[in-house]
């Protein structure tokens, strides 16, 4: 009997080791699409941020925490991910609030237009990076498309095992993990591709933002109230028909903000004041800002955070300052390398 128990334990260990090694090998490394690595990078910097940014690509390509620190001494993190849906933002916030006590939470409202789960690939980019918690389970349950299953998230090898026949050199190279791609959640884009079209967004059949989005916005607001953080709604600057921000949507957000006593800042009409030049400050014809545009926007918003929202300047705290200096240096090193 003893022999059988030892044999069973050995067999279980053998299976576990083989499966874990395969898991590391087949998990997407997101080398070509580094957005998939953003959510997971947060944990190395969790715990002492006064401003948390949440939202989709419009957030992680628009706000530079290194600049916020350097210019205003604001400790912040951008927890953005590709096509981050509002329920994902909510659960990410819930997870972060376990360790953080921010002064302000900044939420980009573009994803309010989505009322239902969209795409497995984007879900994975947001959810796989989260550590296991009740928030992750909640985020998965809220995000899954019809073909997805919770079991596949618990054991990602069940989903990604098919990659075994499509492995590339990167899968072996980054077997134990790829280097950090972001600077406190900011994903740098250095290219310049000016805006060339003046086309506006196509007409929509229905301009009403889904009610479920407002339900999650309520939940975010309540969570912030509970934790004593100010929820600031923003719409990052974009200028492309594909990412069009309709006046009808803007009005609904404004009304909601007014009714809820929140601030809503739409940066699109403020672009000129911020100094954004769409021939220089975008890397994809006006859909997103490049690093030059992001630095301008961050500077502008940093001033607001500092003056209007009284987010403290913490450059005097030596330990924090030292940690941030390393991040700032890394940011400029990356900026110089990628130029």
């Amino acid at each position: 009997m003893k022999k059988k128990i030892i044999a069973a334990v050995c067999a279980v260990l053998l299976a576990a080791v083989l499966l874990f090694a395969t898991h590391l090998l087949v998990m997407p490394k997101y080398i070509e699409n580094p957005e998939g690595r953003l959510v997971g990078e947060y944990y190395s910097q969790a715990g002492d941020n006064d401003v948390l940014f949440l939202g989709d690509c419009e957030v992680y390509e628009s706000f530079v925490p290194a600049v916020l620190w350097e210019k205003y001494g604001i400790s912040s993190y951008v927890r953005g991910s590709s096509q981050q849906l509002i329920w994902q933002s909510y659960y990410l916030l819930e997870e972060m609030m376990e360790k953080e006590t921010p002064k302000a939470v900044v939420f980009n409202v573009y994803a309010m237009k989505y009322g239902e789960p969209q795409n497995e690939a984007y879900n994975r980019m947001t959810l796989d990076g989260m550590k296991w918690s009740s928030s992750k389970v909640g985020a998965i349950n809220a995000s899954m498309t019809e073909d997805e299953s919770l079991v596949d998230y618990v054991f990602p090898i069940l989903r990604f095992h098919s990659r075994i026949s499509q492995l590339t050199a990167d899968d072996f190279k980054y077997f134990l993990g790829a280097p950090e791609v972001s600077d406190s959640g900011y994903l740098m884009q250095t290219a310049v591709r000016p805006m060339t079209t003046t086309r506006t967004g196509d007409d929509l059949f229905d301009y009403n933002l889904p009610s479920v989005s407002f339900e999650y916005l309520d939940k975010m607001r309540e969570l912030c109230e509970k934790k004593g953080a100010e929820l600031i709604l923003i719409k990052a600057p974009t200028n492309h028909w594909k990412f069009w921000w309709y006046d009808e949507w803007d009005k609904q957000i404004s009304d909601y903000a007014d009714e809820s006593g929140l601030d809503y800042i739409n940066f699109i009409p403020l672009c000129e004041e911020i100094g954004i030049d769409w021939s220089q400050d975008t890397y994809d014809e006006g859909m997103h800002l490049n690093v030059s545009g992001a630095e301008k926007l961050t500077d502008y918003f940093g001033k607001m955070l500092s003056e209007k929202y009284a987010v403290p300047d913490r450059r005097g705290e030596s330990e924090l300052s030292s940690a941030w200096q390393t991040r700032v240096d890394k940011y400029y090193e990356r900026k110089n390398t990628e130029k």
């Binding site: 069973a8 067999a11 395969t22 090898i157």
Partner: protein
């Protein structure tokens, strides 16, 4: 609920747990509950058919049994009063009565199957015939959805009725227990088709947990999942592309399909049966084996003694033999002997019974002409082989060393494999003219070079896929070779080597998880025989 779904894995784990937790007297009831639960997953409306089949078969079984018992007791009481002729006449009368009741049961049972499975086929043929006579008005064809496993549970139920009629099985009095015999969930999808005398005592018996037997069942299940997910479903990806464009994929591709389908259906069907038998073993129930290394067969007849054994024996016991010895056939035999002489005359009833049996076997597999042609072609090969047997004997006599040599045996097995593969492709292409055209193309379209080009990857047989399929198939062949050589259950011989057996089990599970074709990116595929 697919055997390969997460839901099923959770379902079966719960069923195992509860089975050994409930009092032993209630184990059969738990199995019944699980079986109906499993069946309900396929659609609540499907329960109508299995419940009606159960009720009718149970009632008719009791009725037939009652007539037989009454007759036996009457004869026992009047043993001294009746003359031999009177007893004979009474027996004949009672048998006729019992036979009429049996026919009623069979008519209802097969009637359900006929209506659900064959109405569409029959009406579409009627429409075609009417069309040839210029009748434009078509009969509307009902769109019945085939309830899960209906061909299997109806055949098992009808087999039970005939066994009760023949006195080979006792009629089950407890309707709930009988319902379990009809619906036992592991074998519901694709058999094996069990006999009441084999299965029922085990289903209703009490089973204590036996760790070794339970692990043995798990091993068998894992092996089945390996065959199904790593080989069958992986091959299916490429097969679907080839089948999807028969104009493009001809010649070499048709041959590739025939070979690939042979491996695919073997891995699919034997894999499914391994899972079924393994689950039953975990419940302490031993089901009949359905395969005995069919691809080692040296003739078609041998192949059919090794492939889907329980279906073959069902047709032999309940169709072929009764048909061969029935009165009309005896009269045909007499007449044909008179007309054609003894040598040919005695063959005619056998031929008729064989043809009818294979026609019905084809029809059982599906309501379509391709299945009927498939059955009849199998029949043709068997009958021709039978007729050529004297020639084979002469050959074996003239070349005794050659005919008993291993290479010759391998040649015979390869020939049977290919022949069966070509015939089997009828149920793959699902269209008789297309299949024949594909067969022809194998010999007339010289595009074999394409198999060694990038087109293989386009089809779905990329290098990585092919390597996995080949290695997995080689593993199955190796295990089969060991089984044949050892002539015993490999699991038993490993039972006293826990390190080896547990490690191998772990490796099989790991291989399934890593190399199995399941989840997103692959279409979840049902077992092929579940469609029949």
């Amino acid at each position: 609920m697919l055997f390969t779904s997460y839901e099923f894995v959770a379902f079966i784990c719960l069923a195992f747990l509860l089975y050994y937790l409930v009092p032993k007297k209630a184990q059969w009831a738990l199995l019944l509950l699980a079986s109906y639960g499993f069946y309900a997953f396929s659609g609540l409306s499907n329960l109508i058919f299995i419940v009606s089949t159960t009720l009718v078969t149970w009632g008719v079984g009791l009725w037939v049994s009652k007539i037989r018992r009454a007759s036996e007791s009457y004869l026992a009481i009047h043993k001294e009063d009746l003359t031999k002729e009177e007893k004979k006449a009474y027996k004949a009368k009672e048998k006729k009565k019992s036979f009429s009741v049996l026919c009623l049961g069979l008519a209802v049972g097969f009637g359900i199957l006929a209506v659900i499975k064959y109405t569409g086929f029959a009406l579409s043929n009627v429409n075609s015939i009417l069309g040839t006579f210029g009748v434009e008005q078509k009969l509307s064809i009902p769109d019945f959805i085939l309830p899960l496993g209906i061909s299997f549970y109806i055949f098992q139920s009808m087999g039970y009725l005939i066994d009760v009629y023949r006195g080979r099985a006792e009629a089950e009095k407890n309707i709930a227990k009988f319902a379990l015999f009809v619906s036992f969930f592991p074998q519901l999808i694709q058999g094996p088709i069990s006999r009441h005398s084999d299965l029922a005592p085990q289903l209703y018996g009490e089973h204590s947990f036996n760790g070794s037997a339970f692990f043995s069942g798990l091993q068998r299940m894992a092996w089945g999942y390996f065959k199904k997910l790593v080989i069958a479903d992986r091959i299916l990806v490429g097969m679907k592309t080839i089948l999807g464009d028969t104009a493009e994929y001809r010649g070499a591709w048709a041959l590739l399909l025939i070979l690939a389908y042979s491996v695919e259906i073997y891995a699919d069907f034997t894999g499914g049966i391994d899972i079924t038998i393994g689950i039953a073993e975990c419940f302490g129930i031993k089901l009949k084996e359905n395969f005995n290394h069919p691809f080692t067969s040296k003739s078609t007849k041998e192949y059919w003694n090794r492939w889907h054994i329980t279906m073959g024996s069902w047709f032999t016991d309940y169709i072929f033999y009764p048909l061969s010895v029935c009165r009309p056939m005896q009269s045909i035999s007499k007449k044909s002997r008179k007309l054609f002489g003894n040598a040919i005359g005695k063959r005619i009833p056998v031929y008729i019974a064989t043809i009818v049996t294979w026609f019905l076997t084809g029809l059982w597999h599906g309501a379509a002409w391709n299945f009927i042609v498939w059955g009849l072609l199998n029949c043709l090969v068997i009958l021709v082989s039978q007729e050529l047997e004297p020639l084979y004997q002469k050959f074996r006599k003239a070349f005794p060393r050659l005919s008993s040599s291993k290479p010759y045996g391998a040649f015979m097995a390869a020939r049977t494999f290919l022949l069966m593969g070509f015939i089997r492709s009828l149920d793959c292409y699902r269209d008789v003219p297309t299949t024949f055209s594909m067969w022809l193309s194998v010999f007339t379209v010289g595009n074999y070079g394409e198999l060694f080009s990038g087109k293989m990857a386009e089809v779905g047989f990329d290098a990585a896929n092919v390597i996995i399929i080949v290695l997995a198939t080689a593993t199955v062949c190796l295990v089969n070779a060991l089984l044949v050589k050892k002539g015993c259950d490999l699991r038993q011989s490993l039972a006293d080597k826990p390190f080896l057996s547990y490690s191998l089990f772990a490796l099989v599970i790991v291989a399934i998880i890593i190399f199995g074709a399941y989840g997103a990116g692959y279409d979840a595929s049902d077992f092929i025989y579940g469609q029949f």
